[in-house]
Symmetry: C2
Amino acid sequence: MTLSDITNPHSFVAADVAILTIRDGALSVLLIRRANPPFKGMLALPGGFVEPDETVERAAARELFEETGVPKSASRLESIGVYSDPERDPRRRVISIAFAALVPNPGESRAGGDAASTQWMPADRALKEPLAFDHIKILERAIAHAKRQLEYTTDATAFCPDEFTVAELRRVYEIVWETKLDPGNFHRKVTRIDDFLQPTGDTTTRDGGRPAALYTAGTLKRLPLPLSPGK
Amino acid sequence: MTLSDITNPHSFVAADVAILTIRDGALSVLLIRRANPPFKGMLALPGGFVEPDETVERAAARELFEETGVPKSASRLESIGVYSDPERDPRRRVISIAFAALVPNPGESRAGGDAASTQWMPADRALKEPLAFDHIKILERAIAHAKRQLEYTTDATAFCPDEFTVAELRRVYEIVWETKLDPGNFHRKVTRIDDFLQPTGDTTTRDGGRPAALYTAGTLKRLPLPLSPGK
DNA sequence: CCAAAAGTGTTAACTCTACACCCATGT
DNA sequence: ACATGGGTGTAGAGTTAACACTTTTGG
């Protein structure tokens, strides 16, 4: 560290992650209660400073794993924006790289980071809570991002367990888009797209009724034609 | 500035901008020749450090204006990613926030920054040049971003002058997507979308043939249905 | 047997593509 | 008059939405 490093413009860089999942039929987000100032005691998104030897993606993946136990590979973790208002942190200049993580329901918020202070909350309720920093803006953007991702990519599968049925996938779309989709048409549409869904050969009756075929996520990332949320 | 500020993890943060326009029928990018190490003498994207009192968007807008004279309001300037490999700058840790700017052809690269060392280059040629840092990756992402933006948003108008014809707009799509589009079908499609194009009432014959109606960009940002580059 | 959910068939409405054709100007 | 590009009409192909219907299980 030289003097010029200190006098030249520099900043703290943090990665903040809106970890989204579907719980009890609602799009939900993981919030922590801050143990330290600033905003001590307030709800916030998980986040932390980027270490000198890691990328911001790695810092975000680390936060994700610490708070949920979900490895990066089981999620879709994407950068959704940079928050750099000089006043956003009252103590010092911190530039935040915001991420959205779409993860399968990991059950109760776990021990990793600081279990006692983490909680899942339905996204619509979280948007009405006072959140630390500009985390409300990050959360808004993360939710908009998720809705858009479902239109153009196969990211909906990130909300599902490893093996899932077409109806379970449909419910993801219905919950995130807040619409009803025709089960028959939806089934035809998604099963016709090459490499979207990989049949396992197994079936399940866990949702009742006639047994449903089980699938895993295929290799396709971007949908050839967007799935529209329109009625 | 306290001691803890220095010993805690921190970084230099830069904004690098891929300024894209359409010149001589080709998608082109503004490159500078670096006057200083590292990578002295090499081609690079314009960029600079984020000052302590400005946002990264503002730093990017400043670069854009310095190099082209184009104000932020006449462009679409969007963050397209964060480049934070600890080794990306050989001298010290620098995290780069990458932007893509879509601008109308501003004529010759101008005096602002350092006219002698800036040049427009067709994007496909620039992709084959050795560029400083990881700027090739940023440029690739900026081009992919532009192609996608044209599908889902009204950003194509950012490449056009203030007033433009439907055919001029069509040429933007044809050049960026590297396709031919049916003039009649394209005309019908875009003029039918509410708030995409605002008729001025004037016409022009600057492209020859029958006079074409002039339009300005409307208020719509996101297309209700994507325009596909499909055949 | 009945309820429930999976998955398929069918059809009318809609949209898109290709291309023919007419229009309004400069030369 | 004619070349040039602007813009409209139209028919056939393709796609979609709505919903009836069959399938396969659990109770």
